[in-house]
């Protein structure tokens, strides 16, 4: 199994959720984050003061998935999260050795 982590722009969350659902994905975990990369923050002026904001708010989405589905899910996420502007985010895939559903104790793919 794999863990797909996606860092995306916050306002894309609804779209990504919809895209995953249409792929038949059963679940996901969402949390808040902030980050930077190419999008190196920007300068703001407020009440006469100028300063750089370098950490930009993002949403982190994590999806546990069978090995076979990983590639299509990644593509689905990218398909909707892309705006083409910097700061669109990153997606990465990591190996998972075991998954357990707490409610039933089921393990492996059936726990997804």
């Amino acid at each position: 199994m794999k863990l797909i982590t996606a860092i995306i722009k916050p306002f894309k969350l609804e779209d990504v959720k919809a895209a995953l659902e249409s792929q038949g994905i059963h679940g996901m975990t969402v949390s808040e984050a902030s980050g930077y990369g190419r999008q190196r923050g920007h300068t703001e002026v407020y009440r006469g003061a100028e300063y750089t904001v370098d950490l930009v708010p993002k949403v982190r989405i994590e999806v546990l998935i069978d090995d076979a589905d990983a590639e299509t899910v990644v593509d689905a996420i990218i398909g909707v999260a892309q705006t083409g502007r910097i700061g669109d985010g990153k997606v990465w895939v990591m190996p998972v050795e075991q998954v357990i559903r707490v409610r039933t104790g089921e393990r492996g793919s059936s726990a997804l």
Partner: protein, 438 residues
């Protein structure tokens, strides 16, 4: 002209201050109710009203409302900047032994809060600059005339009284001129601007209920000035107004919560706040014309009625976002008509007897006339003004701006910054600029 009475003057001055406080109170009441992304815009609409209306009041507003024109429809246009008659006493149907500027200040606060009330109907989606222009036009074309109709009792010999005042419509503190007026205007603007993205689909729960309760509390407190201050003196009439205001509000709060408990299983704090405001609205026109026990009844009915009315928007599909219609229009109508039932000259001798006091339907008909005249005029005029603005400079922000949030897009701010970059902030100090677009 009588000698100045310091007690009456003190009461009117502090009442003016109390009524001013209601507009920030409203800003918090409304601001707490919206989502975190449009709090500031919501509040700024109220503060803009304070600013614009105060300046216009000096320029011509007071004169247009209370200026002695001899007309039943409008005062005079007079740009004296309130510099004349600084030392005069008030003449409004009769002499009142208070300085004219005390009265002018007190009435200014009414002119301020009325447009501010409307803003609740168009939460999350209005262009700020258009709102500012709207307020300037609206008070000039709608509020100043309507206030003249209702609140101007003319000279000491009543020449030049407003037509509703002259007709004997009883509206002590503004059920028609303020609440029905704002409610009808709110409905019109809600139609002009259309529904918010996510209406009837997304959770749009209040972002801060403590802020809502703070706002409701300041409204309640200030409303004693609104209602009891309208006696223009510190006397038995003012005392009756204060008592009735208190008990009607208390009963309305109970009424709203009872509906929630019975229907939904849970009495909510938003219900408590809304019920209180509904009661305040409903007792406004009749607060000195009815006995305290009747005030309790009027309040109770207002709480029940308004709590049922706020669901109408989902049925009829208009996005009166913070329930200006459900609370101010419905509550204002009920309160104005209720005098036709509960009015009694035992409460205030220059009042009138309603249906339950052997006065027949005469008073009720007068009250209905007053209520619906203002309702129709305000709705039509506001719809036209709103449409003109929408078609010319635009009244609604873009879809993207609305999704991102009007605070950040219109005011370049967000209401809370609870992270602190340099460490040690409330949440451990990390997420830097949560204002930004990313």
């Amino acid at each position: 002209m009588p000698d100045l009475n310091t007690g009456d003057t003190a009461w009117v001055l502090i009442s003016a201050a109390l009524v001013l406080l209601m507009t920030p109170g409203l800003a918090f009441f409304y601001g707490g109710m919206v989502r975190a992304k449009s709090v500031l815009n919501m509040m700024m609409m109220s503060f803009a009203s304070v600013s614009v209306v105060s300046v216009l009041w000096v320029l011509y507003g007071y004169s247009l409302t209370f200026g002695n024109s001899g007309s039943a429809w409008l005062g005079t246009f007079d740009f004296s900047g309130l510099s004349d008659g600084i030392n005069d006493m008030v003449a409004n149907g009769a002499y009142y032994p208070i300085p004219v500027l005390a009265f002018a200040s007190f009435q200014l606060m009414f002119a301020i809060i009325t447009p501010a009330l409307i803003s609740g109907a168009i939460a999350d989606r209005a262009k700020f600059v258009t709102w500012v222009i709207f307020v300037a036009i609206w008070v000039t074309v709608v509020y100043f005339p309507v206030a003249h109709w209702v609140f101007d009792f003319g000279d000491t010999d009543t020449t030049g009284a407003g037509w509703l005042a002259a007709k004997g419509v009883l509206d002590f503190a503004g059920g028609t001129a303020v609440h029905i007026n704002a409610g009808a205007a709110g409905l019109a603007l809600a139609l002009v601007l259309g529904k918010r993205i996510g209406f009837k689909k997304d959770s749009m729960r209040p972002h801060s209920l403590p802020l809502v309760l703070l706002g409701a509390s300041l409204l309640w407190f200030g409303w004693f000035g609104f209602n009891a201050g309208s006696a223009l003196g510190a006397n038995g009439t003012a005392a009756l107004a204060l008592m009735n205001t208190q008990v009607a509000t208390a009963a309305a709060l109970a009424g709203w919560l009872i509906v929630e408990k019975v229907r939904d299983g849970h009495p909510t704090s938003l219900g408590a706040a809304s019920g209180a405001v509904a009661g305040l609205v409903a007792i406004t026109p009749g607060c000195v014309f009815v006995a305290p026990w009747a005030a309790v009844l009027i309040g109770l009915v207002a709480g029940v009625l308004c709590s049922l009315s706020v669901g109408l928007k989902y049925k009829f599909n208009y996005d009166d976002s913070l329930d200006v219609v459900g609370v101010h229009l419905v509550g204002g109508l009920w309160g104005t008509l209720a005098i036709g039932f509960f009015g009694t000259t035992a409460a205030t001798s220059w009042g009138a007897n309603g249906l339950f006091y052997g006065g027949g339907t005469e008073l009720l008909v007068k009250q209905a006339t007053g209520a619906f005249s203002v309702l129709i005029f305000s709705f039509v005029a506001t719809y036209i003004i709103g449409m003109l603005l929408e078609k010319t400079i635009g009244f609604r922000i873009s879809r993207d701006e609305e999704i991102e949030g009007v605070d950040i897009t219109s005011h370049a701010e967000s209401s809370y910054e609870l992270d602190s970059r340099s460490g040690g902030g409330a949440f451990g100090g990390l997420l830097a600029g949560n204002r930004s677009e990313g």
